[in-house]
Symmetry: C2
Subunit: 410 residues, 2 copies
C-alpha cells in the first residue's frame, strides 16, 4: 500500500487522556481512533492487525474442532433473567425498545449459546460439540483507561464446548489449553497459566492466561523456575515459595488475555438443555467456555513490544512485512522495487509521501513493521538498498534486489 493513499497519517501526539503505551502508540501511529473512553474505531492499519490476530485464533480453534458461528449482540432480557445475571452482572448494558421490550447487550454468550445448542443436541450422538464466534461485545465498565486493553466495546473470541462426561470434558480442556498456548506464542506473547483457583480449593477447573505487563490490572505470583502461577485476586496467599518446585515466587502486574472456565451443568440445567443418553435417560451436557480478548491481546502486544521510537510488531501480525522508505528523488527505482516485492508476495507499506526523510524514518519506526528498506541516492551509490530489522539500532546492510527478496522471505 502507498502511504499517500492512506487517509490516516501518523500524528505528532496522541492527544490528551492517553495514559497507556498501547493507547498512545496506536493512536499516534494511526491504528485506532478514540470515539470515547473505552470505545475505539479501528483504522486501516489497525484493522489489518486485528484480521491477522483473528486468522491465527481461527486456525488454532478450528484445529481442535471448533465450528464458527455468529451470535447476535442484542439479547432478549428473558435469557439473562433466567440465570440471574440480569440483576447480578453490573457491567451488563440494558436497553428497551420503543414498545417496552427489554434487551441486554452481549458481554458474554452463555445465555444465548446454551438455548441455541439445546435445539441441536438431542442425543449422546450429538456430543461432544464446540462452537465459537469472533464478535464485538459490550461492558458497562466504570473505568476504561487502559486503551484497547479494557473497552466498553471490544472484540472477543468466545468458544463453548458441550460434553457427555467429565473425562471427555477434561480431554477437550487440555486440548484447548494447548491451543491457547500456541495462539499466544504465535502472537509473540508469553502467557502464564494460573492454577485452578490455587489448585485445591475448588473441583472446577479454571485457567487464566496472564501476560506480565505494568499496564495490567491483575497481580499474579509466579515461579521463575516452573510453570506455577496464581492470581492474587482469586487466591489470597502469603506463600513465598513455589509449592510445586520449592523455588522462590515473584510477584508482578499482569493482563488476562484469555481464560477457560468449567461451567459444569449450571447453564444446561437452567435452560433444560437435556439430551438422551445411550441408555435413553435425560442428562445435561457439561459446558466449558473459552475466551480470548482479540482487541485486548492487540493492546498487550503493544505494551510488551515497543521501544522509545514506536511499536515492534511480531511478523505474524504486523500490518505489513516491510516499510519501504524512499527519498532524494529515487521514485522511479522505488516504484520498480515496490512492484517486485509485491510480486514476491511480500506485503509492503511504501512511504511515497512528500515529507522529509527524518519524518519518514520516524514514522516507519512508529508504525513498527518488522523490516525497513531504504532506497536513496546514497544506497544506490553503494550498490543497492539498505535493509534492516525494525529492532536493530544500527543502519542495515546494502543488498541487490535478489538478496533483498531472499532476506525478506527468510
Amino acid at each position: 500500500m502507498k502511504m499517500s493513499h492512506l487517509f490516516v497519517q501518523p500524528q505528532k501526539d496522541a492527544g490528551s487522556g492517553a495514559e497507556t503505551a498501547n493507547h498512545q502508540l496506536l493512536v499516534q501511529a494511526g491504528f485506532i481512533d478514540q470515539l470515547m473512553a473505552g470505545v475505539y474505531t479501528y483504522l486501516p492499519l489497525g484493522l489489518r492487525v486485528l484480521e491477522n490476530i483473528r486468522k491465527i485464533v481461527r486456525e488454532e480453534v478450528d484445529g481442535i474442532g471448533g465450528q464458527e458461528i455468529h451470535m447476535p449482540a442484542l439479547h432478549p432480557s428473558e435469557n439473562w433473567k433466567a440465570t440471574g445475571a440480569w440483576e447480578n452482572v453490573d457491567v451488563l448494558f440494558k436497553l428497551e425498545s420503543r414498545t417496552g421490550k427489554e434487551y441486554a447487550l452481549g458481554q458474554s454468550h452463555e445465555e444465548i449459546v446454551v438455548p441455541l445448542m439445546k435445539k441441536f443436541i438431542k442425543s449422546y450422538r450429538d456430543l461432544p460439540r464446540a462452537v465459537y464466534q469472533i464478535q464485538w461485545k459490550f461492558r458497562d465498565e466504570l473505568r476504561a483507561k487502559s486503551g484497547i486493553m479494557r473497552g466498553r466495546e471490544f472484540e472477543m473470541k468466545d468458544m463453548y464446548s458441550f460434553h457427555e462426561t467429565q473425562e471427555d470434558f477434561d480431554r477437550f480442556y487440555a486440548e484447548a489449553k494447548q491451543a491457547y498456548l500456541r495462539i499466544f506464542s504465535r502472537l509473540g506473547l508469553i502467557a502464564k497459566v494460573t492454577e485452578a483457583s490455587g489448585g485445591s480449593f475448588s473441583k472446577k477447573i479454571s485457567y487464566e492466561f496472564m501476560v506480565l505487563t505494568d499496564a495490567g490490572e491483575d497481580i499474579i505470583r509466579y515461579c521463575e523456575q516452573c510453570d506455577f502461577c496464581i492470581n492474587l485476586e482469586i487466591v489470597e496467599t502469603n506463600a513465598g515459595i513455589c509449592p510445586k518446585c520449592g523455588s522462590a515466587l515473584r510477584e508482578g502486574k499482569a493482563s488476562e488475555v484469555g481464560n477457560i472456565f468449567d461451567l459444569g451443568q449450571r447453564y444446561t440445567e437452567i435452560f433444560d438443555a437435556a439430551y438422551a443418553t445411550k441408555e435413553g435417560e435425560r442428562a445435561y451436557p457439561i459446558v466449558g467456555c473459552y475466551g480470548i480478548g482479540i482487541t485486548r491481546a492487540m493492546g498487550v502486544i503493544v505494551e510488551k513490544l515497543h521501544d522509545e521510537k514506536g511499536i515492534l510488531w511480531p511478523e505474524t501480525i504486523a500490518p505489513f512485512h516491510v516499510s519501504l522508505v524512499t527519498f532524494d528523488g529515487v521514485e522511479d527505482e522505488a516504484g520498480k522495487i515496490y512492484e517486485e516485492l509485491q510480486r514476491a508476495d511480500i506485503e509492503v507499506l511504501w512511504d511515497d509521501r512528500e515529507v522529509s526523510a527524518g519524518n519518514k524514518l520516524a514514522d516507519a519506526d512508529l508504525i513498527g513493521n518488522p523490516f525497513r528498506v531504504i532506497i536513496s541516492k546514497k544506497s544506490l551509490e553503494k550498490g543497492g538498498y539498505e535493509v534492516k530489522r525494525r529492532e536493530e539500532k544500527e543502519g542495515g546492510i546494502i543488498v541487490g534486489i535478489e538478496d533483498l527478496i531472499k532476506y525478506l522471505q527468510r
Copy 2:
C-alpha cells in the same frame, strides 16, 4: 466438510412464525437460527455465505478506492443530538450507562464518520477520500417479520466519501453506481436503479438499488424496455408511460438492497469539519453515503433463487460448490473422491451421515449447493459418479474422476 461433523442438521420445518421463504428455508436448511423477531444467529453454513458476500463487496469497493475501517456500534449521544437525529430517528436504540451517560446504538454512521474524518482531512490535498466498514447495525423496528430482510440487528456495508467539488463527487458517484451494479450481478441479483427522486424534483442525487420480489416492502414502477425505475413511496405518480422511452410501465413489489445518497455539506457543516482550500480558505467537503445490506441481500437472494425443494445458491456465494451424497456402503470410494475434490480446490460438503438416501437427497436440494455428486453402487456399476447441477430436474450424467473434476471446475 463432513456433514456428520456439522453440529447443525437440516430440520423438518422452520418452526412457527416463519412467514417468508428466506426465513423458512434458511432456518430449515440450518443457515440461521432465530433468537427473537428480527435477530438471528448465523450458523456455520450461513456464516460461509455471509463471508462470500462480504468478499465480493470488499473487492468491488476496494476497487474504487474505498479504505476499510471498523467503527464502534456504541455511540455517544452528543453526536446524535448534534444532528437532531437523537429526537427525530424513531428506530434509534438508546441506552444509558450505570453512571447515567447516554448512548445510541449505530443504525448508520454519518454521526461518527464525519467527526472522525475531520481529524484527517485538513487540506484540499487530503481529498477525495472514501472509507467503509462491514458491520452489524441496530434498528428499533416496530415490525420485523421478513426473515433476515429486515432485522433489528443486521450487517451492512456502509461507505462514506468526501469531496472538494460537486464534479468530483459526481465522478465518484458514477463509479460507485457501477461498482454496485457489478456487486449485485455477482450476487446473482438483477438490481433496478431508481431515478433520483423521480429525476427532476431535487438537485440532490439519490439512487436506490431495487430487486423485484413479493417479499419486498417497497413498490416500484419500472419500464420493461429501458432502465427507468421509480419508488412509489418517494415519488407519487400515475404515469403509465415511461418518460424516457415511451414504453409501458409495470408495477411490482421490490426490496431495497442498496442505496446511495448525496448528503451535501449538511454533516460537515454541523460538525465543523472544514478543510483549507488551495486558496487557503475554509470549506466543507461534500459527503456521499453508500449502503448495501449484507444480510438483507442474502435474504433477497433466497427469495429470488429457490424452488419447491430448497435454495438455489449462485456459485459465487454458495456455502460449498458441491454436495457429495453417498449411500449403499461406498464409504471407502467416497472418502477417496472427497479427498481428490478437495485437492483440486473444490469445496465439498460430504453427506456422510447415517440417514436414508431419500433424506440425503432432500437435504442436498434444501441446502442448495450448485452441484450434486452421487456415489452409489448403482453409479459405480455404470462406471463412475453421477453429477448434475442443482437446478436440473432430471438425473445427471455418469463420469469418471477426471471428467468430474473438469466438470466442476468449469
